[in-house]
Symmetry: C2
Subunit: 494 residues, 2 copies
């Protein structure tokens, strides 16, 4: 998957990371662990997020939270537990979630007649509370969200991607009419798209899910889909129009301006800690992670390159340089470890994907220069110190653009329009997405999945950035006339 595979193989062996091309799965697991993002836990299917991963998640939360507030949303905190009876009130919802529930049957010394479940998502209990808070159209819209953990049993787990406990925000809104609710669904999808592209440097395709891939209980589900370096898709965020399904199940009704009684139209939307998996698998290379600069916990690492007798002095000089960068709003760390070699430090920070490294040695100091190395593969540069500092923001933006452009090219190259099923199966097997016409029938989708492990990712929206051209054709599998008015994206998924 990289041109200089041989060279990188050798380097990777030194650092102990399996190259992506040898085993993408091993590469992923090793990077997660060795970059100190997360660790396995003694709890079935749950991970421990370590400080570097937690700092990344905090930056993600901060950006999104600011955006939610700026668009008029308010945070709340709902209980982690939900009465089992709530889950069964919406028929599709219970069918979707029942096999994955964590059941609490005892509190203190009391055996519970009706058990609780640890929330797999909170539509039900939020619907119940809304029912008590909503009276008149004047109370609407409710624009709510919460940050927290959710719990869904997973048999085969993988850090950030599939864990029994994961972290997210869940947005929940209620509106007086369908138009406003659908507007909210699109607004949040677009915010997710903006976040991925402009902050995480992730190209994603905005589209609507086919019926069989909808959220349990939704009228329409929209997603953003990203392509990982192994060609698989990762659903990176979802936004659902729930119609009146949950408001009818939980009696969320109000008096209209015209004094009629009406059920609210509700939405829900989420990005979870999976997005960290997308960052790792979209940007990472055989040296490890590459952190998108705008979200990176550490944007620049300063390595004081000293000998035993002047190491402390160089650390001090490193701190001065760091202070100059911080004054520019850059997040900097000075690596003060004295028990390890410079080479070890370089490899360690490359593995952790810090966008820019600055080496500061005694002779550089005398000459007023520093050595700057970007994580995009460019060669080291020796720059006047002042220039390195003043140019850092532009350099970080450049790395962002490079990451986005590289990932976009990769996605475009590996997304193939196909009109026959034999080619479809071959292209999927080679690690591509396929764009194909489809009849829209759920059983036909199922037969494609059984034959190729590929599912519909989404039907790109008319204003999606990619793959939004209109057209009609015959279903790639069964030959019936196509639905949707455009090609559907198929791919294997995480």
């Amino acid at each position: 998957m990289t041109k200089d595979g041989g060279k990188q193989d050798k380097k990777a062996q030194q650092y102990g990371v399996t190259p992506q091309s040898v085993d993408f799965n091993d590469w992923y697991n090793e990077v997660v662990k060795k970059a100190d993002l997360a660790d396995n836990s003694p709890v079935a299917g749950a991970m421990v997020v370590r400080p570097y991963g937690s700092a990344l998640w905090e930056n993600i939360q901060r950006w999104l939270d600011d955006k939610f507030k700026a668009t008029g949303h308010e945070s709340l905190i709902f209980p982690t537990l939900i009465p089992m009876g709530f889950i069964t009130k919406e028929a599709d919802h219970v069918e979707g979630f029942a096999p994955e529930l964590f059941t609490v049957n005892k509190i203190g010394t009391e055996e519970l007649a009706e058990p609780y479940v640890m929330r797999p998502t909170s539509e039900t209990i939020i619907g119940h509370m809304w029912s008590g808070w909503l009276n008149s159209y004047r109370d609407l819209p409710f624009l709510h969200y919460q940050w927290g953990s959710v719990f869904r049993a997973e048999l085969r787990t993988k850090a950030f991607l599939r864990t029994s406990e994961f972290f997210w925000h869940e947005g929940h809104t209620a509106h007086a009419d369908e138009g406003e609710a659908r507007g909210e669904v699109r607004q949040m999808l677009d915010i997710y798209h903006e976040f991925c592209r402009d902050v995480l440097a992730l190209p994603v395709v905005r589209g609507e899910k086919t019926a069989s891939e909808r959220f349990a209980g939704a009228v329409a589900t929209y997603s953003i889909e990203g392509m990982m370096r192994d060609g698989k898709a990762l659903q990176s965020g979802t936004s659902h129009y729930l119609g009146q399904n949950f408001s009818k199940a939980f009696d969320v009704k109000f008096q209209t301006r015209e004094q009629r009684e009406e059920f609210a139209h509700t939405t829900s939307w989420a990005i979870s800690s999976r997005i960290i998996g997308a960052i790792i698998m979209t940007h990472g290379d055989d040296f490890g992670l590459i952190m998108p600069p705008r979200i990176a916990p550490i944007q620049v690492v300063v390595i004081p390159v000293g000998r035993k007798d002047n190491f402390d002095q160089m650390v001090e000089e490193g701190e001065k340089l760091a202070a100059e960068l911080r004054a520019q709003g850059v997040r900097v760390k000075v690596d003060k470890r004295d028990g390890v070699t410079n080479g070890f430090k370089y490899n360690d920070w490359e593995l952790k994907g810090v966008p820019v490294r600055i080496e500061l040695g005694p002779r550089d100091l005398e000459s007023g220069v520093v050595v700057v190395k970007s994580r995009n593969g460019d060669e080291k540069e020796t720059l006047p110190r002042a220039e390195a500092v003043s140019g850092m923001t532009a350099r970080l933006d450049g790395i962002h653009d490079w990451l986005l452009s590289r990932a976009t090219s990769f996605m475009l190259e590996h997304t193939i329009p196909v009109d026959d099923f034999e080619t479809f199966a071959a292209k999927i097997e080679e690690g591509n997405w396929v764009r194909a016409y489809h009849c829209g029938d759920a059983d036909c989708e199922k037969s494609i999945k059984e034959a190729t492990k590929a599912t519909t990712r989404n039907v790109p929206l008319d204003d999606a950035e990619f793959f939004n051209d209109h057209g009609e054709g015959q279903c790639v599998k069964c030959g019936k006339p196509s639905a949707y008015g455009k090609r559907v994206i198929f791919g294997r998924q995480y």
Copy 2:
């Protein structure tokens, strides 16, 4: 409890809040609900925190989180579940928490041979993870914390004060030696003290808990204790030195500089969502909440006072004024509701405890003045608009000082040094704290509790702001010689 009880009674009836002096408990519950801080939930003992309460909690989190990071701590995310077997590894710990545990016995369709518990606190699972991460003295200290929910069964629940699920940070640190660990314990206690005094305007007493009031598994527990307006104590934060108890139970050991194997010395510390209860019950009055300005979600509310024909214009003018205040860093809301009277709005924002209200009418606008009302009971003032804006930060600081001073006077007036048990019982019954000499015997403490419902709050530290004078005497209950070298604080508690 207030001088003008009669007048306030009448006003309170209008707004529908029971006065504190009539029933403090009803007052509390009504304020929590009517100020939109929290609501009851359908889950036994758990509450729903509504947007106004959530915004307050977010501000609390933000200040503390910044402080933790500034003092070198790193956040992590540990699982919500803990294997039941972990809890039983530390003998005192299991004794303390076993009666309060939430038990998960089923995940998906699988009945669990060994159940999980929802964490009541995370020392055990963190100890287990540390054991894997710790090798050498070079790895230490671990300076960790996490934000999240914990779960402890409660029979009689009360929003924020006693809920089965509550919200907190839990700090967990590991150190190479006792001195450093004890230094950490004191540092965090002092940060909590600073936070309460300088941000929440809460006077609190720093001290050490007596042995019978220690955290389950701790060698020493320190607390900050605040006095509520009914004279009861609220333990508002704790910091524990855990010695090597948990590190021995979970094998948290390391190689010392001298190549010996040694167990780490660990600490833990927490402030929870109870602190919101302390804010309510320390500062609130018969009109409702009074939010300490530095943490208030809304510091200033602007009420456009218009008639039907010019209301929109006044709202627009209100937004202009709000923009000027925001430019000064003030958190402002403009009350744009048009279906309610101005009087309703005034009462509503007083109930919610917004520190400053500005009324803006058409004639004020023409004269270039605004009407300013502080929530400290001062009369309305008519001020030149520019002066109201430029003086707002000082005004908010003034309200902070007034709150802190009022609460400090109240605590000092209601804390009585006592040397005989009859007076002790009477002073407790009247709603005071008592400062008394005590022998240090746990059974003697128990007999005091049985007789008066009062427990030891803490033994003030030598550098505590209040009640730190040294002395010796006879135990107020049994007459034996006193322990501790100073008087102990006793009180009824939440």
